[in-house]
Assembly symmetry: C2
């Protein structure tokens, strides 16, 4: 392959039959997003330094930037540029990071490790960890307004999308339902699905929809992204439940077996490991099918969904 | 006074020499804001019920709705209607309430009482209190987008205004600096001013500016509201410091003497009670002066600032 060819976007090459280079794609999107995040976040020297250090500590802790990647890939799938979706991609990562900081708190999951490093409250204390989460949630909305409004979607629609997905009828609803289900032997599959749809799928779907909105998606394109997001989001959480059972703390980069120890409602606990794996596979197939209307521009999205299943191998 | 006269807005009557009925004004704005807040907040029955109950518990806990009142009065001072500023007024109260819930947490100020009632974490537990705060902060931005954009100010400007004022360079900066100053004997007046300007004045100023923006304020009007807000905000915090020393828990509706017990940096601790009272008075005079360019339409704002001093009598 000549050097001029290798510089062309991975998605183009895939359209010609070359296997999609997901690792290269994730590397490129991560670099793009990390640079933008560092630009958007106040410098560590800005007073009071501790809060800005704490915000950066968790934001630059080696996260896989899956939501930003989905956001950028969704924009591409609707014919938009990565640059157009960069602000929402950064906003989504701030919301995701805030939720991890607060989830890890002693009053919540009480986790000491996250991505192989001490969690925020272990480094900065509980009060600062609470505030660092608050500050990341707050700045997410500020960053989001840096998106250029499109013909179909203004700033109000974008802010509502993010707030709905991350608020008490979205991600927070899932966290609450998850807490309330803890140790409760009578959790139904329907309740478990509510937990996962809210806790994970809501923000993943918003990641895709915000990417689409930044690319001025047609209603039909946005609908395809929504269906894709719902199924990928559920699959993602089922896979997470499975990994907690099957992998070591070293492999996970966080404490393994926590769900079981906390008697948490999970797919493996409710339907066994094998059926959980088939469920994850089924959901990903449903996700793939939803991409149909987006055509060849959805190559990166397809590869990202594929990656979610491959984590199991 | 005939019944037709008594139905005219208090601000109009004041312009004719009748004393401004602040109690009536605050009653009217509180009813208006409470009705809108109840409309914006998810009903308690919406799943998961606990989070929506917790959000409402703290939001409808008898708060004085000072920020909404300032927001509505600011809109009026720029020739706008109360209705135009109702959404930002509600958003501001959600942000204020979230900050109180998180401030009261055991890891922060560890307060058991707020407005004479048990604090959120005493009723719902720490995890739920953290999430209720998170959810109120999140919904604030959703509510804010219900503001009708004006010729000069779009949704992006409004969202940025709220995020800046409440984030790590605003209210949260003040909370962090306050925590870091605790028990530190060497806090300077400059540092204390930074704490108060960030912790209180930033959100009060945003309350006024958002009211102005919703009323399509001219740059000169917005500047007047900003100067007014900065001085009222500082005065408000100085008064709060003084009340903590001079009033009982019953009078305050929260635990009195907490600042002194925690060895907190306060104006009374740094410059004594008498000089603190003079400082509060001076700041309020500066605030009054800033209202000049707004003319007679600023009557309600004037009365609100006056009220902040009268709390001391």
């Amino acid at each position: 392959m000549s050097s001029s060819q290798s510089k062309r976007p991975a998605a183009d090459r895939e359209a010609e039959g070359t296997p999609f280079d997901l690792k290269g794609y994730l590397g490129q999107t991560t670099r793009l997003v990390d640079k933008a995040l560092s630009h958007y976040l106040p410098a560590s020297r800005i007073k009071p330094a501790t809060i800005h250090e704490a915000m950066r500590y968790s934001l630059f802790a080696g996260g896989k930037r899956m939501r930003p990647a989905l956001c950028l890939a969704a924009a591409a799938s609707c014919g938009g540029s990565q640059e157009a979706a960069l602000a929402p991609a950064c906003a989504l990562e701030c919301v995701h990071t805030y939720s991890l900081i607060h989830d890890d708190l002693p009053a919540m999951d009480n986790d000491d490790l996250r991505r192989g490093r001490p969690t925020s409250h272990k480094v900065y204390g509980e009060a600062m960890a609470i505030l660092a989460g608050d500050a990341l949630l707050t700045i997410a909305f500020e960053i989001l307004t840096d998106t250029r409004p499109t013909q179909r979607y203004g700033h109000a629609a974008m802010v509502r999308e993010l707030a709905r997905a991350s608020g008490s009828r979205g991600m927070i609803a899932g966290q609450v339902a998850d807490m309330e289900a803890e140790g409760n032997q009578g959790v139904s599959l329907k309740q478990l699905q509510f937990i996962h749809a809210s806790k994970t799928a809501a923000l993943l779907t918003a990641s895709l929809r915000l990417g689409g909105m930044a690319a001025n998606a047609t209603p039909r394109q946005l609908e395809a992204l929504t269906t894709f997001g719902y199924h990928v989001g559920l699959a993602f959480q089922v896979v997470d439940d499975i990994l907690d059972v099957t992998q070591s703390s070293d492999q996970l980069g966080k404490t393994a077996g926590k769900d079981q120890a906390a008697d948490k409602a999970t797919y493996p606990a409710l339907m066994g490991l094998d059926r959980s794996k088939r469920k994850a596979s089924y959901l990903t197939q449903k996700a793939f099918a939803a991409l149909g209307p987006l055509g060849k521009k959805a190559t990166a999205l397809h590869a990202l969904a594929d990656y979610l299943l491959h984590r199991l191998n």
